[in-house]
Each structure stands twice: as C-alpha cells, then as structure tokens.
C-alpha cells in the first residue's frame, strides 16, 4: 500500500492490471482471508527464475515481488481467475504449475484416470482368470536345473 501512496504522489504509474484483465470482479480481501488466498495462489504460480518451484516456495527476489503483486491484486478486489490470468498474460501458461483443464492439457489430467480404469479392469480380469484356473499344480521344479531340463526335454519328445 505504501508503494501506491508513494506512486500517486509523484504521478507515477506501473502497468495497469485493469488493461489486461478488466475491472476487478471479486471482492476486496483483507486480514486472514487475504493471507490464505495469497498463499493458495502463490502455490499455483511458478517462479520464473528458479526451477519448478512455486513463488510461495521460492526464496528468490522475483518470487517475493510476485507474491506481493498477488496480494495487491487481491486487495484491489481482483478475483482468483483474474489474478492467474494477469500472470498468464505476461508469462504465458508456463507460469501455471497446475495446468488448466482445457485444450491439450486435459490429457495430463485424464490419462492417469484412464490408466487407473484400464488397470483396474485388467487386474479384475486377471484375478478372475487366475481364480478360475485349475488348482495350483505341484510346485514347479527349478526349471533352470540342467538335469531337470534334460529330463523335460526327453519327456516332451
């Protein structure tokens, strides 16, 4: 907030979020709710200088700036979607650690689910098949015993 007062005094202006994501569409946050939301969004946004860390986790300067920006936008009443969109506009989808459920990204969410279903089906079929199989045979002799292998060879002839 101090920054804003300071900027206003000198008629300075940082790039305006409104240009990018429209008028604030959420309610202005404060107090514990603000802390909570800032934290939540910070865990989704990727720190651009570090490797794969969220801005919530990253100790870098850039991440701290971005956390402050998240907080400022929430204070001004921008909604969660707008905040994410704001960062996406300047950094691209790269900045979202949680891929959006749209377009080609849906695959990253659905493939594991599909794998689970297919896997379950295969496991059940396998279980049924094995369950229905004839009673367990006598324990197999160690097949790699050359003697047994030779005997087997002779028998199978």
């Amino acid at each position: 907030m101090i920054v804003f007062v300071f900027l206003a005094l000198l008629q300075l202006k940082v790039p305006d979020a409104q240009q990018l994501v429209g008028a604030p569409a959420g309610k202005k946050l404060a107090g514990a709710e603000l802390d909570q939301k800032t934290m939540e969004l910070s865990q989704i946004l990727r720190c651009p200088v570090c490797q794969g860390l969220s801005i919530s986790d990253s100790p870098s300067i850039m991440a701290a700036n971005m956390r402050d920006q998240v907080r400022d936008l929430l204070v001004q009443g921008y909604s969660q979607e707008q905040v994410l969109k704001y960062f996406e506009q300047s950094y691209g989808q790269f900045v979202l650690l949680k891929p959006k459920f749209q377009g080609v990204n849906t695959f990253v969410w659905l493939l594991p689910l599909g794998a689970l279903l297919i896997g379950l089906a295969i496991t059940l079929v396998k279980m049924n098949k094995l369950d229905a199989a004839p009673a367990a045979p006598a324990p197999e002799a160690p097949a790699d015993d050359p003697y047994v292998a030779r005997v087997r060879e002779l028998v199978e002839k």
Binding site: V3, F6, L7, L10, Q11, L12, K13, V14, P15, D16, Q19, L20, P48, V49, I61, M62, N65, M66, D68, Q69, D72, F87, E88, Q89, S90, Y91, G92, F94
Partner: protein, 172 residues
C-alpha cells in the same frame, strides 16, 4: 509373438524418441514471451538522478530498448558497457531505458557514476513493471518498435553483436 505387447511397446518407443528428439537443443530456461507482437505495457516511473517521471508512451515514434537490471546482478556488470556504448553510437535513433527493481537509489547512482551512463534509468518499485513484462531474471531486455509493440525479448547479458542484431529488427 504377442502382438499387443509389440504394438504398445513400439508406440511408446516412437513417442518417447520423437518428443525428446524434437525438444533436444532448446534452452529449457528460456521462457517464450506471450507479449511479443503485443503493445508494450505502459509505465510512468521516476528516473534516477533527475527524479523526473519518465512515461513510456511519450517515447512513441522511436524504437525503444528496455533493459531490466539491478546492481545485485553480477552479469549486469558485464552487460552495462555494451549497452552504454551502443546507446551512444545509436544516438537519437533508438531510445534506451534501464529499469531497475529491488535496489536502492544510492547503489544505482554509485553504479552509474562509476561505470558511466548514456540513457535514463528508472526505478521500478517492488518490481511491478518487471512482472507486467514477464521478466524472469535480470538482465533481460525488450525491444519495442516505433508503434510501441514488443518485437523481441532477450534473456541474460548481451554482447554487442546480439544487441545490434536485435536493434536492427526494431529499426525496420
């Protein structure tokens, strides 16, 4: 011959090799800027030294080179002379602007006094302008054409040739 295993296996192999082959050689640290081809976010920031506000919109009609840097950034020390030298050489044809964040005015002033300056450097409080430009780290440089559109971005310190080739792009 179990055809299912063979088919699935070959599919996995082909997909893996194709993907890795296609992405190999790209710099994984590079972030494509979605801002390229779009209007440069406007800002009015205070210049170091004069204390006067500098408005990006007032620079329309001239190509602009916006260089994000800081005195706590080591590679910036290496890049600074290249920027100053080229800014002097290009004179009025191209406007250079330095944008500094998370720094103190004293340190910037010291830096500029010691290493020379040829163009205005403005202070970006709390890095908000840098965020609007999608800056990853410093130094990072944006090239804006006459119409105020971002043409290119460069991450990391530039040498003279790199800088000139990018400037040529915005001069057209």
């Amino acid at each position: 011959m179990n055809k299912t295993v063979l088919a699935i296996g070959i599919l996995i192999t082909a997909a893996l090799v194709a993907v890795f082959f296609l992405v190999m050689g790209k710099d994984p640290g590079h972030i494509d800027s979605p801002l390229i081809g779009r209007p440069a976010p406007t800002f009015t920031l205070r210049a170091v030294g004069s204390g006067q506000p500098l408005n990006l919109e007032q620079l329309r009609g001239k190509p602009v080179v916006i260089n994000f840097w800081a005195t706590w950034c080591m590679p910036c020390y290496q890049e600074h002379p290249v920027l100053v030298q080229n800014a002097r050489m290009l004179g009025d044809n191209v406007q250079f602007v330095g944008v500094v964040f998370n720094d103190t005015e004293d340190k910037i002033q010291q830096f500029l006094n010691a290493r020379g300056s040829a163009y205005p450097t403005v202070i970006d409080e709390a890095g908000k302008t840098a965020i609007a430009y999608g800056v990853g780290g410093v130094p990072e440089t944006f090239f804006v054409d006459k119409a105020g559109k971002i043409v290119a971005k460069y991450e990391g310190p530039m040498d003279g040739d790199t800088l000139q080739s990018y400037v040529a792009k915005v001069m057209q």
